[in-house]
């Protein structure tokens, strides 16, 4: 088969599967070439459902990494589209100054606080249908597959990306699924706490297979407070060595 035909066929399959730049209304780059290259759309796809989860710590509160990573994503969406973004959460409020330092400023962020968890999903769906938004995020504890599929369809129809900051079990219908946990700073302890450092695992991404540990890719990233952007911290391979060093240091 000629290679031109093959390429056309590949493109058609990609379009049918909903992957590739043609299948979505657009994408917003995360600003980190290593991550953007793994995502088939060259960035976070618009008009899709994305899911971010944290790493459980067993004492009731997760760390702030998943919240911060979601805020960073929403901030990038809002800055790229120059439209407001909605944050829907019915429990503890996120702290706006912290979100602002992650690029989600008050001029872009509108917070919605429903009384009940069930209203969060309703508000999320309502927000996703509104084309005047750059993105909508809802903090959820329990999402079933049907609700998630509805969200995905609504997002596809409007082109507005939906983010689930999921504190509960995986919902199953998201186009990408991220797990974000904190990672110790690498700087000299005498210099204080280094830049925010996260261990970002892409657990699921439509159009990409997973490795034997159930992940598409893993990165160790840092938040550059001056440039307000992500940067790659270190290759994932030396992660295992890190805790060793700190045990010695302490």
């Amino acid at each position: 088969m000629p290679s031109a035909d093959l390429a056309r066929l590949r493109a058609r399959i990609a379009a049918l599967e909903g992957v590739g730049a043609e299948a979505v209304p657009g994408a917003v780059a995360l600003g980190l070439p290593e991550v953007d290259a793994v995502l088939p759309w060259g960035g976070l796809a618009l008009g899709c459902l994305h899911e971010v989860t944290g790493v459980p710590h067993g004492n009731g509160v997760g760390d702030g990494a998943a919240t911060a990573f979601s805020a960073m994503l929403l901030g990038r969406l809002a800055a790229g589209e120059r439209k407001p973004a909605l944050w829907i959460g019915h429990g503890d409020m996120p702290y706006a100054p912290g979100l602002g330092q992650l690029g989600l400023g008050p001029e872009r962020l509108v917070l919605v606080r429903p009384y009940r968890a069930a209203q969060s999903l309703w508000a999320l769906e309502e927000g996703v249908r509104c084309r005047a938004l750059a993105g909508v995020l809802a903090e959820v504890w329990d999402v079933d597959l049907t609700a998630a599929r509805r969200l995905q369809l609504a997002a596809k129809a409007s082109g507005v990306p939906a983010l689930l900051l999921n504190h509960g079990p995986a919902c199953g219908a998201a186009v990408t699924r991220w797990r974000v946990g904190t990672s110790p700073s690498r700087s000299d302890p005498a210099l204080g706490v280094g830049p925010w450092r996260w261990n970002v695992e892409l657990l699921r991404c439509r159009g990409r297979g997973v490795d034997d540990r159930g992940r598409v890719a893993v990165w160790e990233v840092e938040w550059d407070e001056q440039a307000r952007g992500l940067r790659l911290a270190a290759p994932a391979a030396d992660r295992a060595a890190a805790p060793q060093r700190f045990r010695a240091a302490g």
């Binding site: 710590h57 702030g64 503890d92 702290y95 330092q101 008050p106 990672s183 204080g192 925010w196 996260w198």
Partner: protein, 443 residues
């Protein structure tokens, strides 16, 4: 009449304790129901028996004249099981007197209250019983007897009240009726020859009324801020629902969508005979073209979303969080409605957590050196060894409200990389000893 006397007259009498609050509520409900004759309906504040005031100026022709309106009103009330007397006159006082003391001809002709009141007893002037008794004792039994008495004499003997009531009844002094609710500036209504009860009919009627109301508002360059839909049902009860908008609006489709979720609350019961839409609050809205392209991201669409969220969750649940001039973390953020302009104050430069606990959680901390971060702390039954810490940030209450001790905040990182915002309240060596708290978690 005492209970014993009453039982002597009628042995089979059913006795029930008086429930003034319930009676009052019933009269209020009837006043609401009467507001489909006129928006100026009020329960009678003067407490001899129960009464309703209706200012029907300019409304009577809708019912075929004054006589017909009164007949309509009394017939309907009778059918509902109330015994009612009604009268209509130029002044509230005259109407009150004719309704209670007039034998026939409930409609006093225009400017005819002087003649109409003359034969009525003085008690019809809404006087206290003892005042009325004194007047009768002086031989002034009818209102007509008072006409010839010099005012100065009346005032000297009884104070202002008699002359005042007389002037009110005759129309020499004005007496406004305060309606139960302020009359809306704009409103439309539809009366149904056959009461409607199906949900689809109600929705359709509301939709049409909305279109009419919006046209009315458009002609005047106004938009709705609050809208009330009231349904008057055949069983003399009324139901109402209200919606608000975050910006003046007059797009009937948008407003209908906002109402849509609440429409079932207008439970038609046995049928709705009158629907009324009132614009409770209006604001100027410049004329604009409607029907922009669907793909165009107009801010209107955002406002519509805010309306729908606000009506379902409450307008106070949708907010923008903006900086406020304060160093205290809890007060550094203030809420604004999402449509309000964002003030140009920036967030603090120092690191701030992404989650701030509404109540700082106490921790057991080990801080061997004063004025330094702890080396270890126990929070929620879990020990955290502090590996790294930023230098302290001292935050004190503003001087005009200095109640709480100063706090020294530390950004600390534990051995697995979790980052916390700890603070120490109080100083080492002082009494009481310092205490440690976790106030938030970082990225």
């Amino acid at each position: 009449m005492s209970v014993a006397d009453a039982l002597a007259v009628r042995p089979g009498l059913v006795l029930a304790p008086a429930d003034e609050a319930a009676d009052r509520a019933l009269v209020d409900r009837l006043a609401d129901w009467c507001s489909h004759y006129t928006p100026w309906a009020a329960a009678d504040a003067w407490t001899e028996g129960f009464g309703l005031w209706l200012d029907v100026t300019g409304c009577a022709h809708l019912f075929g004249g004054e006589e017909a309106l009164l007949a309509h009103l009394t017939r309907r009330l009778k059918r509902l099981g109330f015994s009612a007397r009604a009268a209509l006159a130029d002044t509230p006082g005259a109407a009150w007197a004719r309704a209670r003391y007039g034998a026939n001809h409930p409609c006093v002709p225009g400017m005819g209250q002087r003649d109409a009141l003359a034969p009525l007893p003085v008690a019809a002037l809404r006087l206290a019983p003892e005042t009325a008794a004194t007047l009768s004792g002086l031989g002034l039994r009818c209102i007509g007897d008072l006409y010839g008495i010099p005012r100065a004499g009346l005032a000297a003997r009884f104070g202002r009240v008699v002359a005042h009531r007389l002037d009110q009844a005759l129309g020499h002094e004005s007496e406004p009726i305060s309606p139960r609710r302020p009359p809306p500036s704009h409103g439309v209504h539809a009366a149904f020859a056959e009461p409607i009860a199906r949900a689809e009919d109600v929705a359709e009627a509301v939709r049409r009324l909305l279109e009419r109301l919006c046209r009315q508002l458009e002609a005047e360059g106004l938009g709705l801020r609050r809208l009330e839909v009231a349904a008057f049902r055949v069983d003399a009860t009324s139901r109402s629902i209200a919606i608000g908008t975050s910006r003046p609006a007059r797009d009937p489709r948008h407003l209908f969508r906002l109402l849509g979720e609440d429409l079932p609350a207008l439970d038609p019961g046995f049928g709705i005979e009158l629907l009324r839409l009132s614009a409770l609050e209006v604001a100027p809205l410049a004329p604009e073209q409607t029907g922009l392209e669907a793909g165009d991201a107009c801010p209107d669409e955002f406002v519509r979303l805010l309306d729908s969220l606000g009506n379902r969750l409450g307008f106070d649940r949708v907010m923008r969080l903006v900086p406020q001039q304060s160093h205290v973390p809890e007060r550094a953020v203030t809420r604004l409605p999402p449509t309000a302009p964002v003030p140009s104050v920036s967030w603090p430069d120092r690191r701030r957590p992404v989650r701030l606990f509404s109540r700082p959680e106490p921790v057991e901390a080990m801080a061997p050196v004063p004025d330094s971060p702890p080396v270890m702390f126990r929070w929620r039954n879990r020990a955290h060894r502090v590996v790294r810490a930023d230098s302290a940030e001292r935050i004190a209450d503003e001087w005009w409200r200095r109640i709480a001790p100063e706090r020294d905040y530390y950004v600390v990182e534990d051995e697995v990389g979790r980052r916390f915002w700890l603070f120490r309240e109080g100083l080492y060596g002082a009494e009481p000893p310092p205490r440690w708290y976790v106030h938030g978690v970082f990225a």
